[in-house]
Amino acid sequence: MGENQKRILQMLAEGKISAEEASRLLSLVGEETNRGDDEGAMKKDKPSPKYLYVRVEPKEGQRHGSAHEGFHSLAKHGRVNIRIPVGLIRAGMKLKALIPPGVADDVNKALKEKGMSFDIHNLKDEYVDELIRALSETEINVDSEEAEVRVYAE
């Protein structure tokens, strides 16, 4: 029995709510629990992403020149299309095990100077796996006047 169900029964026993209200609340709590279980199952079934994409596309008005000139001359923003295998990110993260102790402290110090209070020693494999799983649900879309930026995983 969940904490919420216990609390509802407690309130019923104390006479704070009627039997009808308790029944309604219990059914609502049951529905929520089932929904949570379904979402959890969906998350487990969802395959982890294979690639991380970073795309920057300048808006049409920002492009000058034509293809026969050899290459597009792009005003302020270039065009970027990067596809990174998620396995490469995972393997790259594991390289932190090779960072010598003194250097790791320097990295932490440099990160702190940039406003990121992060200890590289605390980066564990399970966190990386969780981060990669979370990537599948992450999509960054920035649509400005000059360019469209998209970061997503598939």
């Binding site: 690639y51 923003h77 596809r83 393997a91 390289l95 095990a97 010598p100 102790p101």
Partner: protein, 96 residues
């Protein structure tokens, strides 16, 4: 099992130069491996001497595992694609 990339496509273009090349890594890889092994064996005594004089505690692990780790990293490169274009030029790099 993960294998290193077998092809690398490079395309480079700026206002002065332009080239595109397909590198057959499956042919170059074994040659590079044999050459690196030969260079490694030749330089080993000097490297050991240098290590003795510049030894710092905690550095044995990166020295020992860096080569296998980078080879492992290389095995995850297939699928990596970098395509960047701006007014200065165009760089395209893809591992297959």
């Amino acid at each position: 099992m993960k294998w290193p990339p077998y092809l690398l496509k490079i395309r480079f273009r700026n206002s002065h130069h332009s080239f595109a090349i397909w590198l057959p890594l499956f042919l170059i890889g074994p040659i590079v491996l044999v050459l690196s092994l030969a260079v490694f064996l030749i330089l080993l005594p000097f490297a050991l001497l240098a290590m003795l004089f510049t030894w710092r505690p905690g550095w044995w692990r990166p020295l020992l595992f860096s080569i296998p780790s980078f080879l492992r990293l290389l095995c995850f490169c297939p699928g990596l694609k970098v395509d960047v274009e701006n007014k200065a030029g165009h760089v395209y790099l893809a591992f297959f």
